[in-house]
Amino acid sequence: MTHPTTLYEKIWNAHVIDRRDDGTCLIYIDRHLVHEVTSPQAFEGLRLAGRPVRRPDLTLAVPDHNLPTTARVDAAGHRLPIADKESAQQLAALEANAPSFGIKYFGATAAEQGIVHVVGPEQGFTLPGTTLVCGDSHTAAHGALGALAFGIGTSEVEHVLATQTLLLKQSKSMEIRVDGTLGFGVTPKDVVLAIIGKTGAAGGTGYVLEYRGDTFRNMSIEGRLTVANMAIEGGARSGLFAPDEKTFEYLKGRPMAPQGADWDAAVAYWRTLHTDEGAHFDRTVTLAASDIAPTVTWGTSPEDVVAITGVVPDPESFEDASKRVAAAKSLDYMGLRAGQRMQDIAIQHIFIGSCTNSRIEDLRAAASVVRGRHIAGSIKQALVVPGSGLVKRQAESEGLDRIFIEAGFEWREPGCSACLGMNPDKVPAGEHCASTSNRNFMGRQGPGSRTHLVSPLMAAAAAVEGRLADVRDMMTEEKAGVA
């Protein structure tokens, strides 16, 4: 009898081309997503060496990080120029590189354009059981569909383009187990924040995660994408969900997904992709769904989480000496004091977007809170940035854009936006932002910006109240159902 294996081992074993004595393996890469920031030097390297892209058909390019989220064409349909010279240059490079290497490209004005990690699943480019890479650390998101997905650097981008492989060593495996029903107003974002609060921002280093338990089984694919997206914030390069009927239903009929007989063959294979009974995990972390409340961050690491009903912790309360120092520094940066109620923290900026929370369910959830309400007078800017052109179109067909605009939000074009301070969408120094993105590092949303990571429901609540607020106080039970 063969010994029981984990989902991770199954996918890994199916992709080993060669194994060296020191354990380094040459791994085949099934899917490669390319964006404008980490690819220019990789393409250039290929050009200098006279090398082609080995499998352009397994590669998909889309710009996202640098693109401004304001209108991209004028009234006459002409492309508007990009003011920042360096951004414009990086975007122009991708626009030229993709066709010249034969790679499919969704340009800035294409309906399919969006954040790489939203576009991949949406197009059915991301498939269960595949290895998928991208020069971006949040590539882990694609693990929601059962793909072994992880971020890589520019030299590795070039390596994958040229060889469709990577040299890697196998990681350890960690089971993240959550069972039970999520409470009213508690969303997948709160689950992943709670997980990182428990494991710590480095707890997953060296591991590939697998999310198990009925809380995850009952979660929508979009919710799973939110959870897997943040695997890296807990230190893990990848996080996996075993593909199930929900996965197949989500993928069926997507433009790049298998069709006809291929689809049936694919589903038959995908059904074999699960961790065997009795398979070994190197570590298990368990949470109860009923213990998770709407969660917010108070500091500058994604592990700095607390329930919305809680208070800013006292740095002295941490056992670890280096954590005490880090927490004190965080509070100083964030302009907060120990013991302050989280719900008393005033918010000036709202960002609903990023590859963590910019899909249609996220927008519906946020809209359900702001419908018929208005953002607080103290809010200086409230952005809603759909994750892709297709999400935007869907939301508009449901009238969500009107709800947001009437409530005082700005409705933008798809892109990474205020998730990182690389394009014009930034949070000014010293101001607090309730953000549905994934990183609250110092300066992440612009120099001096103060980020509080929250769910779309909680971002909407903060917008209405002008402070971090408990969305449960604003919602009826029926409304919470959309989360």
Binding site: I17, L26, Y28, P40, E44, D57, L60, T165, D262
Partner: protein
Amino acid sequence: MDAVHHIEGRAYPLGLKNVDTDMIIAAEWLKTISRTGLGKGAFAALRTAPDNVFDDPTYAGSPIVIAGDNFGCGSSREHAAWAMLDMGITAVIAPSFSDIFSGNAFKNGILTVILPQDAIDRLIEVAKTDAIHIDLDSQTVTTPFQDRFTFEIDAFRKHCLTNGLDEIGLTLGQSDKIGVFEQSDGAARPWLVPAHA
């Protein structure tokens, strides 16, 4: 990548210790889209000195730099190697190098030669008037004046450099295996190629 057997020519007699990556290429150059063109920004911090070797026409276009201890310390930026390559530098001779820099140099086909300080002192003297010859095959540095210094180099790196193999080149050496995998996997999972709409 081009195979390296020998490098011959004038050398920048820099001699400086602890040349860090910020001196080689400043952070403001990291937003570029190219690994070429960085030569314009190379050694900018050192070029502010009026009599620096990089702006001395005697050494223009030299393929070699001779430096002091701990060359390339600082950040991990691969841009440092790219910038030097863009200036036409393909070898650095120094008593020691930072690990990350020598890895990045190797990845980009730049030879790092480690020689003791007295050899460095002698080579700097020679470099002011004459060319220097580095022979990777015999692992020697020679001058027109009978000087002959031998150096050590990791066998794997030597193999890669003398055969013009970078990491990608090495993996491409396994193209057959990759092809076989693609064949059998393609048969087992024909649905894997995206249906490009």
